[in-house]
């Protein structure tokens, strides 16, 4: 039987096992919406802005490991989605974004709501497609899912002109696709892995540094096993938190610009570094000239282009992180040598000394609410087992520092692009994927206003999100840089004319809470956790001039931290 392009599209989603599509309708996608209307396999979630559609699909993907799907119309629909696409691209999140396009006969004519979606998104997608013939649609969809989810994952955009969604052809969804131009290397080179094992066993001051790649490849288990087997200290990047249990003794905290004293000093002083699924981002390395000056480096990554891009490494291993870690374990068992336990003990003594600096201490006796305190209490009240999304700014760093993630895919934030406005829509996707879980969005009064309209979506779908707004009255991270590097000239970092968040939340049918005393924090959080039939917006009035410590100023070395 012949189906229309729109029907084929929906069937592809169904056959791909897609549960939710996050989207917003418009002229170019009306045939598709009509086809969605006539079926029940694929559920559509109506957002209030296309940016939120991509972030919600992204949150869904990050929390489940399955690709997220967003659907937007041509022109402004597509341009609104770009921020979310770029956000997913920077963090290598598998996303399928379908943009409607004007009919093929009008392409290039500056038609109503025409933009060159393929051109605009090219630099921020893993790949994109323009489907010009309905007969190519199903195979293109298959390719899109294949490309988005394999190798180093990433967003894929499919631009579909309106006439293609109306044309008809036979529907056949291919079981699998092969692309001669795309064959990611998944198995690590055995010789390189053997060399890595030798180097690891020769280490006297070893360090393991892992990033988002471990989470993307579901490799926490082999990573944890390897780390325990070796007894080495381990640090995670902002994107990698939860890959190794944060409450474990061997975990020395996050590294990088706002990493712990012990993690950054251990990096700086190590003699062998095992980097896994991480990309030596500038927020991690600081000044690359001063990065790990004594270390021989092993780098495991599925993306060859990530290896020796910023920092030259000694033993590159291209392959899927899970495969390579498993193979490392096997070869380690078969190896003759053993870890030098004596040297390791001395190293750990040194690290414990750094750790005893307690670099994350803050004033617990303050009579204004300290933002760190809210995150600590949230950790306690949720038993450390919530899904936490965040926006971008100081609150994001405090969330990363004070919520101890023991499991992967629980910490969901825009690390690469640093997109304010990400947190709440991402939390919608997380909550839909995990209806019974506690999902909290840690945000600031600046960030939350970038996608505040999604409170309406949250109401429509009855999502019991907890919005933890650390309201310091400032664009705090900007204010902090202005305090440190611009002699306190606070240009445009003060948020005047804030809305009454409690009333705002209430007007959207959510519960609003205003908390301004440290003594009320815990009770408020507990109360919020009981609410399951709607969202709760907790407006915490926090210390307006608190800073995030430690801090490595941009361009400084890992050992040049500003402490409290």
């Amino acid at each position: 039987m012949e189906l229309t392009g729109a029907e084929i599209f929906v069937n592809c989603l169904r056959d791909e096992g897609v549960e939710y599509v996050f989207g917003y309708p418009g002229g170019a996608v009306l045939h598709i919406y009509d086809a969605l209307y006539k079926q029940e396999d694929v559920k559509h979630v109506l957002v209030r802005h296309e940016q939120a559609a991509t972030h919600a699909a992204d949150g869904y993907a990050r929390s489940t490991g399955r690709p997220g799907v967003a659907l937007v119309t041509s022109g402004p629909g597509a341009t609104n989605a770009v921020t979310g696409i770029a956000t997913a691209y920077m963090d290598s999140i598998p996303l399928i974004v379908i943009t409607g396009q004007v009919p093929t006969s009008l392409i290039g004519n500056d038609a109503f709501q025409e933009v060159d979606s393929v051109g605009i998104t090219r630099p921020c997608v893993k790949h994109n497609f323009l489907v010009k013939d309905v007969r190519d649609l199903a195979v293109t969809m298959k390719k899109a899912f294949y490309v988005a989810t394999t190798g180093r994952p990433g967003p894929v955009v499919i631009d579909i002109p309106k006439d293609v969604t109306a044309e008809r052809c036979e529907y056949h969804y291919p079981e699998k696709v092969e692309m001669r131009s795309y064959n990611p290397v998944l198995k690590g080179n055995a010789r390189q892995i053997r060399k890595a094992v030798e180097l690891l066993l020769s280490a006297r001051r070893p360090m393991i540094y892992t990033g988002g790649g471990v989470i993307l490849d579901n490799a926490s288990q082999p990573l944890t096993e390897l780390t325990r087997r070796l007894g080495f200290p381990i640090t995670n990047t902002l994107m990698g938190l939860g890959a190794y249990p944060a409450t474990d003794r061997q975990f020395v905290g996050m590294l990088g610009m706002h990493g712990t004293y012990e993690a950054n000093l251990a990096m700086h002083n190590c003699d062998v570094l095992l980097a896994v699924g991480a990309r030596f981002d500038d927020r991690v390395t600081g000044n690359v000239e001063k990065f790990c000056p004594m270390a021989k480096i092993i780098h495991v990554d599925v993306d060859p282009a990530s290896i020796s891009k910023n920092v030259k490494v000694d033993i590159p291993i291209v392959g899927s992180v899970a495969n390579v870690l498993t193979e490392l374990l096997e070869q380690l068992d078969a190896a003759d040598g053993e870890v030098d336990r004596e040297a390791l003990d001395v190293w750990w003594k040194q690290i414990e000394e750094w750790r005893s600096m307690d670099c994350l201490k803050y004033d617990r006796s303050s009579d204004v609410i300290k933002p760190q305190y809210v995150v600590e209490k949230l950790y306690e009240v949720t038993g450390g087992d919530a899904f936490i999304t965040s926006d971008v700014g100081q609150h994001q760093m405090w969330a990363a520092q004070y919520y101890k993630f023991d499991k992967p895919r629980r910490w969901i934030n825009s690390g690469g692009l640093g997109t304010m406005g990400f947190g709440m829509p991402a939390a919608m996707g997380v909550q839909l994927a995990h209806p019974d879980a506690t999902v909290a969005c840690i945000t600031g009064e600046g960030s939350i206003q970038m996608c505040i309209q999604e409170l309406s979506t949250i109401r429509q779908y009855g999502l019991p999100l907890k919005i933890i707004c650390l309201n310091n009255g400032y664009l705090g991270m900007v204010r902090q840089w202005q305090e440190f590097f611009y002699q306190g000239r606070y240009a445009m970092s003060y948020m005047e004319s804030l809305p009454d968040f409690v009333k705002l939340a209430e007007s959207y049918g959510a519960m609003g809470m205003h908390i301004d005393k440290p003594g009320d924090v815990e009770a408020a959080l507990k109360e919020a956790m009981q609410v399951r039939d709607r969202a709760v917006f907790l407006n915490f009035v926090t210390d307006s001039e608190e800073n995030v410590y430690p801090m490595i100023p941009a361009g400084a070395g890992q050992n040049e931290m500003i402490l409290v």
Binding site: R122, P123, R180, S181, Y182, K309
Partner: protein, 164 residues
């Protein structure tokens, strides 16, 4: 150092802009770039001349390989290879003396005069890029009206091929 990179890619709309976009987004140099279909019409072959340190070249080849449309690539400069570029050059030759001299230079460089008017020669010349540069230098004392160059193409010598 100067490198000639040959790329086999899917002959798809937009493939060229992916390469061009990559170079501009990452700030790599392009000296020249040519592209045309091969004997297999589903494949295009692109030749790109770029300069950079070894580290930059390593990144360029990795990033190119990462493009989904790229099937295979080869840095010609790593092995024995033949490189060619074609040039058409229009020069004003006012008198017999000029005509004779330009004709003589064209012969020395094994070029051809492919179009002649009373005062203008159009010369076709093929060779490695530095040969074309040298020719331009040598006819420079006559008024050069126009130069068009194809950009470099290259192929490796002997058994080695870039094919699928």
């Amino acid at each position: 150092m100067r490198h000639i990179i040959s790329i086999l890619m899917e002959n798809e709309a937009g493939a060229l802009s992916r390469v061009a976009g990559l170079f501009s987004a990452r700030g790599y140099n392009i000296e020249s770039l040519t592209v045309a279909p091969t004997n297999d019409p589903s494949l295009s072959r692109m030749t790109l001349v770029t300069t950079g340190t070894d580290e930059i070249l390593e990144q360029i080849t990795k990033q190119l390989n990462k493009l989904i449309d790229v099937v295979k690539l080869q840095d010609m400069t790593e092995g024995e290879h033949i490189e060619r570029e074609m040039m058409l050059l229009k020069v004003r030759v006012a008198d017999t003396e000029a005509r004779d001299e330009v004709k003589r230079l064209t012969d020395i460089f094994r070029g051809h005069i492919v179009d002649v008017t009373e005062t203008i020669f159009t010369i076709e010349l093929t060779g490695a890029s530095d040969k074309l540069d040298a020719f331009i230098d040598s006819v420079d004392r006559f008024p050069i009206l126009e130069v068009v160059r194809s950009g470099t193409i290259g192929i490796s010598r002997g058994e080695k091929t870039l094919s699928i």
